[in-house]
């Protein structure tokens, strides 16, 4: 599970973070938070279809749609309130980095990817674990769908 390849899009995002100074990294996370799209209507009107990631310090809900064999593309949907920008930012990073990839590629994403964004000093360990939990939840749901 760990040590797999980081998908190109996610690797690019990690590089973007790494190229910045610490305060600018937070600014970039804020941009991701602002760009997190609203849920499509089929979920927006049906919050019961979403699952809460309880490890996050603020309410974060996610659901996924997994396509058919052999590619099984994974689509991610997140919902978090505007009062939780860090959580929204992490969700935005995962969405942009992983959405649409084949299930096998998402399963191969190294578990320590959140640590590679270079935010561990600026953001408490508790919050970093929230992002790791999001990734863990995504992988678990893929395995359950197999």
């Amino acid at each position: 599970m760990t040590g797999g390849a980081v998908p190109a899009k996610l690797a690019e995002i990690i590089d973007d973070f790494q190229d910045l100074t610490e305060p600018d990294r937070l600014q970039l996370l804020l941009d991701f938070s602002r760009e997190l799209p609203d849920l499509p209507e089929r979920y927006g009107d049906h919050p019961e279809l979403l699952e809460q990631v309880v490890e996050c310090q603020s309410p974060l809900f996610l659901t996924m749609e997994i396509g058919d064999e052999p590619e099984r593309p994974v689509h991610l949907f997140f919902s978090a309130p505007p009062e939780a920008p860090t959580t929204r930012g992490f969700a935005g990073v995962l969405l942009e980095g992983l959405d649409g990839l084949p299930a096998e590629e998402v399963l191969a994403v190294p578990d320590d990817v959140p640590d590679r964004l270079g935010l561990t000093r600026a953001i408490t360990p508790l919050r970093m674990r929230g992002m790791a939990a999001m990734l863990g939840r995504i992988k678990r749901k893929i395995r359950e769908a197999q």
Binding site: L26, Q27, L29, L30, S33, V54, E55, C56, Q57, S58, P82, E83, A84, P85, T86, T87, G89, R121, A122, I123, T124, P125, L126, R127, R129, G130, A133
Partner: protein, 309 residues
Amino acid sequence: MTLAADPQDKFSEYAHPERLVSTDWLAANHDAEGLVVVESDEDVLLYETGHIPGSVKIDWHTELNDEVARDYIDGEGFARLMAAKGISRDSTVVLYGDKSNWWAAYTLWVFTLFGHEDVRLLDGGRDKWVAEGRPMTTDKPEITASDYPVVERNDAPVRAFLGDVLEHLGKPLIDVRSGDEYTGARTTMPAYPEEGALRGGHIPTAVSVPWARAAAEDGTFRTRAELDAIYRDEAGLQEGDEVVAYCRIGERSSHTWFVLTYLLGFGNVRNYDGSWTEWGNAVRVPIVRGSEPGEVPAAVPTASARVAR
């Protein structure tokens, strides 16, 4: 120069009404000379999404803590921080934040370690200000660096260490965590990840009063009568008691420390910031599991447990 207190009726019931301001007061005194408004949140990016115009941000995690020791910044560090935020020794500081001022109260407590005289909370915090449709901005304020003296931190009056709590056993202790953390069913609050305590339970004799009970639905503090009912009638605190409050890392208990000290007027309240992450892991330190406070243990404290004095 400090500003006159907010004369609200609700506040006049409290022991120290000068420690709170209402959103109305802040809106009216917003541009007063000598006032610095500070936002302290749990979510480190929340300030950047919009804040009360002119307010500065203090990040409790990166700005108030020492980088290596599990301790707060020292007098020089605090003086540098205050100067950078444009706060002078005689500034009136009004703190506000998310989640019923939980982290704002923590920041206020750290200000108290340095004896900053006039530091107040915005009753209802960020949520109330936003709910009332009052102005918010993403503009960073222009800060004129101030000159703040180096003041030595004085922990003793408001901060308890592990050894202090061992000696305190037998006097009132308030555990402000959730019910499941208190009984030992879990070591972190619901919806929060594990933060590394080996055992679940509470400090012997500690009474459970979850911190959020002091806050009303809208995030403001409950009235004096409601707070008296919770902390005196129910938890059994009496005039003249020495009290220690704790939680998991000392932030939620700062909120309760504020309530007991400034709203109810207890004169000797300390916050044990080592809290459960320290106590639940410390060698030869007793704990109690279950819903009863438990007895003062007969055979403790031991010499080896007397650390961190």
